[in-house]
């Protein structure tokens, strides 16, 4: 990768799969779906699309140094995490990513759950989470197409601060590196992203044979 700038995407065209939303709602594989519920789900997916602004950005950064439990990037961003180090074991470069679908849908979910139609609110919540993840999936697919030309690919998995032994504290350095305030995001004192349907992730770039 020769990108040195943050690559931004706005209004990414996404239509989350209904099956993925059902899984978030606790679906069992091939479980029958009640027709009324299916209609409710379709309505929720439609409303969620209207209320979402799928936005994502990424920045590739070289790995400056990696030990069994630390990773240091070229811009001196430092992570202490065995699991992240393991994820990046075949990588010389990482991609820092962030995704958000904006505040409008979060407000709508709260409004539905507390004031109007809680069942619809729950569906909107599931679709919103799935859409936020789908932004990351979309960017990873995008990057994989670019990388394939060079015989490289992204690690199959991505990692987010707050999972495994990668502390949530690292949201701060990634937030600052990616300048997420420019997307209208905020980070709370406890390192949470606002609006709620926002997520930060890290993946590695590795040769295709892995």
């Amino acid at each position: 990768m020769t990108h040195t700038l943050i690559q931004c995407f706005y209004n990414i065209p996404l239509d989350p799969e209904i099956e993925s939303v059902l899984i978030r709602l606790g679906s069992r594989k091939n479980a029958p779906i009640d027709a009324d519920f299916f209609r409710m789900l379709e309505e929720g997916m439609k409303q969620a699309k209207i209320l979402s602004h799928p936005t994502g950005l990424y920045l590739p950064l070289k790995i400056f140094q990696r030990t069994a439990d630390t990773v240091v990037l070229e811009n001196e961003t430092y992570f202490q995490s065995t699991s992240l180090s393991r994820l990046l074991q075949n990588s010389e470069e990482t991609v820092l990513m962030a995704a958000t679908i904006g505040p409008e849908i979060v407000d709508a979910i709260m409004n539905e759950v507390t004031q109007k139609d809680a069942a619809l609110g729950v569906i909107l919540d599931a679709v919103a989470s799935q859409t936020t993840d789908a932004v990351l999936d979309w960017m990873m697919d995008y990057l994989n197409i670019l990388l394939a030309k060079k015989g490289r690919k992204l690690t199959r998995h991505r990692y987010s601060p707050g999972y495994g032994d990668l502390s949530l504290v690292y949201q701060k350095s990634i937030f600052e590196t990616l300048k997420l305030n420019k997307l209208g995001l905020k980070l709370t004192d406890k390192y949470m992203l606002v609006p709620e349907k926002s997520v930060i992730a890290i993946a590695g770039i590795e040769p295709k044979e892995y």
Partner: protein, 814 residues
């Protein structure tokens, strides 16, 4: 080189392009990580040698070594100020290398930045970046341009517009498609071809990303719609990284073995991309030697594109509905939003119309109090990503239309161009420049003709003018100029005759704005539907209508079947024969069920709107209140719980059922005997909060709602609540349970603090926790009394906790 000279150059031969340059430079010593453009400028003999070898091998067109020669790319090497000089020098070197033996194409390639509407690089800036490079290449003497390896249709458009606004040289455009036959940003090959050839590309095709076999499949997709020659410049098979070096798996003879496959697919410009060398071009030449290119022109056709979809129309296609609803006239909410720069209503209307069957969306934002040009550009940008449906850009202002046409990453339909001088003189050149189709409104400065004869004259006159800009009849859509039958009953017949004339004689598609026909009449929908059916019968191609009308859409689809435009009735069948899905509790219809069964069913299926009426009916039928609760509602909600536990019901269904139960119980409670009542003072009280520092409370709110529905008295303190406040509130109200939620590892520790404080002040209440990062082990570790993984578990846990606490069961359920 002018287009005619280029056409003569191509003549009837297969044109051979060059192969890879980067790897040839590396073979000759170019180090990794340097700026190739600068390195070549400093080592001119090497590019002379490489390009000379390509010419000797048979290349008719050589690309300048300027793949990364735009300002954005050169700035990565701090060479942003050398754009003109480097491009001029490299173009001159290529000219020197090939002499008179081949043409030199100025190479324009991706900037590496994503351009709007998907990215953050402003479209005009992108055009400016290419213009700067083009000027250098022109100064160096290039014969034509090639825009290559484009992964985003909008960036390809920017480069092509930049070429067309700088010179009259021919432009070849080749896109890169991956294995799922889409560009990086989702454009399919046919859509890319139609968009680019409409915009003025002289050759369109594919390069890079795939080997020759896969590329032949892409070319074959394009071929039926190609009105320009097609280009194929595949890689030498698939890339692999071996010992840090990218290698390709196909040698020159194997690669050239696909030449005939590519030719048969429709390619007439052949070359090689990554992994190829002069040897590959020599082999290609051997395979094409002596063959002449079949020069068959694909007939003109009617089709508009978005960035990701083409919609074709014509007499052999089903009638396409152009959704009319994105228009502020008479829509207060849309007007308000547009004034305030908001777009939710636009998105809603776009989605509603496409879901109901509109395949093209008309966009009109004309209203007082807004900057129409800016708003049109913004809405066009938004809808370009939000929907796959191509847009019909609707404005009376040429300035407004140009702002949208320039930005729109597809081939739009302009609504509309008439013979009115102010319109036609400005709009025809615009439509031609951006390759748009247009609706031809048969109106002149003198009149809005009622009679068909005059309309035909105007259509012919506009067409003759449009022809001068290269338009065909298939590029225009003649408006039926629908007038209201309530003031002139002949109006419908005139329009129908005009539609038939377009279809059978003139040869252009036609369109009607349907609803005008019935203005002033009662029950307008019947008139509209009848008129639509008659118009389709006479050969109508498009209609501007509201696709939310089931009657209209049904008539349209039925008419498509009856006029054989819906082949094998496939679309009709797909729309109207969707099988019913399973209902739980739906065995007999409600009309044959007893009132007890209907109450049971209402709770089971969460029919909260019906429950009060059903209870009233049951009471009228002398069912005792206690029986309604014990025999209908409780068994139903128990079954809901079982269905949820078995993962046959989802949380939203559980919520609906619980809400129905609660509504029913509230209705019936005053009628119950004292032993069956739960008075408010006796309900179990739960203090609920998301802990300090945590801002997530959607899950906690759902738990609160469920607890309420199951008969708990919930005091929800909200999110980011301090331990002191949680404990104080629990103490004040005498809570039986404190429920806490935390979604993050950084805030889950706060739960322990709350428990410690509660115990310090002597609170004996039970404590339950939940949230994405906690579990039962953590609950035990911090001294909580329980953990619930979801809202229903929380209800069950709360019930269990109050039972264990030797309280009476104070919730609704056992």
């Amino acid at each position: 080189m002018k287009k005619t000279a280029f056409d003569n150059f191509i003549n009837d031969r297969f044109v051979l392009l060059d192969g890879a340059t980067g790897t040839e430079l590396q073979k000759r010593g170019m180090p990794k990580g340097v700026c190739p453009e600068q390195w070549v400028a400093e080592h001119p003999d090497i590019i002379l040698e490489v390009q000379n070898q390509y010419v000797e091998a048979g290349s008719n067109i050589i690309y300048t070594c300027t793949f990364g020669g735009n300002r954005i790319k050169l700035e990565e090497f701090s060479l942003g100020e050398s754009v003109f000089g480097l491009n001029q020098k490299l173009a001159a070197l290529s000219k020197k290398a090939v002499g008179e033996k081949a043409l030199v194409a100025g190479d324009l390639a991706p900037t590496g930045r994503m351009v709007e509407p998907l990215g953050d690089l402003p479209f005009e800036k992108c055009i400016a970046v290419y213009k700067e490079q083009i000027q250098g290449l022109l100064a160096g003497g290039v014969d034509l341009f090639v825009i290559e390896t484009m992964m985003d249709i909008q960036e390809a458009r920017a480069a092509l517009i930049a070429v067309k606004e700088n010179c009259v040289l021919p432009a070849l455009v080749s896109m890169t498609f991956d294995q799922n036959q889409r560009s990086l940003t989702g454009t399919d090959p046919v859509t890319a071809l139609i968009t680019l050839q409409s915009l003025g590309a002289d050759v369109v095709g594919c390069n890079c990303s795939t080997g020759p076999a896969e590329m032949a499949a892409l070319i074959a997709l394009m071929k039926p719609y190609a009105r320009v020659p097609l280009l194929a410049k595949p890689n030498a098979g698939l890339p692999r990284l071996i010992n840090g070096v990218t290698v390709f798996d196909m040698d020159a003879p194997e690669f050239a073995g696909y030449a005939q496959v590519l030719i048969n697919a429709g390619a007439s410009f052949l070359g090689g991309c990554c992994g190829t060398s002069p040897e590959y071009i020599r082999e290609l030449k051997n395979k094409t030697l002596g063959q002449s290119r079949p020069v068959s022109l694909t007939p003109a056709f009617s089709g508009v594109t978005s960035a990701r979809k083409t919609v074709f129309f014509g007499s052999d296609h089903p009638v396409k509905v152009v959704g009319e609803r994105i228009n502020p006239t008479g829509k207060k909410k849309l007007q308000e939003e547009l004034k305030n720069g908001l777009t939710q209503e636009v998105r809603r209307l776009a989605m509603e119309q496409t879901q109901n069957g509109a395949e093209i969306l008309d966009v009109n934002v004309g209203m007082p109090g807004i900057d129409e040009k800016q708003t049109m550009a913004e809405i066009t940008t938004l809808l370009s990503n939000f929907t796959d449906a191509p847009l019909c850009l609707d404005s009376s202002s040429p300035v407004v239309l140009e702002s949208a046409l320039r930005l729109y990453p597809g081939r739009a339909l302009i609504n509309s161009i008439s013979l009115e001088k102010a319109k036609i003189e400005k709009l025809l050149p615009l439509a031609a420049k951006y390759g748009s189709m247009f609706i031809l409104l048969p109106v002149s400065d003198e009149e809005v003709p009622e009679r068909n004869e005059k309309r035909r004259e105007i259509v012919w006159e506009v067409f003759r003018k449009a022809q001068q800009y290269g338009f065909h009849k298939e590029d225009m859509v003649v408006d039926g100029l629908v007038m209201t039958v309530s003031s002139n009953q002949q109006a419908a017949l005139e329009t129908l005759d005009q539609i038939e004339w377009c279809a059978r004689e003139f040869g252009s598609p036609s369109i009607i704005g349907l609803s005008n026909i019935s203005f002033g009449l009662p029950e307008r929908s019947w008139v509209n539907a009848a008129f639509l059916a008659m118009a389709i019968g006479r050969g109508l191609t498009l209609t501007i209508a509201n696709p939310s009308s089931d009657l209209l859409m049904g008539i349209k689809m039925a008419s498509d079947v009856l006029t054989t435009r819906d082949r094998d009735s496939l679309r009709y069948i797909a729309r109207f024969s969707q099988g019913e899905k399973q209902h739980y509790g739906n065995v007999p219809g409600p009309e044959v069920m007893s009132i007890r069964e209907r109450i049971y069913r209402a709770v089971l299926r969460g029919e909260k709107e019906d429950i009060h009426l059903l209870i009233e009916q049951a009471l009228q039928e002398s069912v005792l209140p206690g029986e309604i609760v014990d025999d209908c509602m409780i068994p139903a909600i128990n079954e809901v719980g079982q269905l949820f536990d078995a993962k046959k019901y989802y949380l939203p269904q559980l919520i609906r059922s619980a809400e129905t139960m609660k509504l029913g119980f509230d209705k019936i409670e005053p009628l119950l005997g004292a032993d069956q009542k739960s008075n408010t003072s006796g309900l179990a009280k739960v203090v609920l909060a998301t802990v300090k520092g945590d801002v997530h409370d959607i899950g906690k709110n759902i738990v609160g709602l469920m607890l309420k529905n199951y008969g708990f008295l919930v005091h929800d303190l909200g999110k980011d609540v301090s331990k002191e406040r949680i404990v104080a509130e629990a103490k004040t109200i005498g809570a039986e349970i404190i429920g806490m939620s935390a979604l993050m590892t950084t805030t889950m520790t706060e739960m322990k603090e709350v428990i410690q404080l509660a115990r310090q002040v002597g609170l004996q209440c039970k404590i339950m926790i939940g949230g994405a990062v906690v579990n039962a082990d953590y609950a035990r570790e911090i001294g909580a009394d329980g953990y619930a993984k979801d809202a229903y578990e929380a209800v069950k846990l709360a019930q269990k906790l109050i039972m264990n606490d030797a309280h009476l069961d104070k919730s609704i359920l056992p």
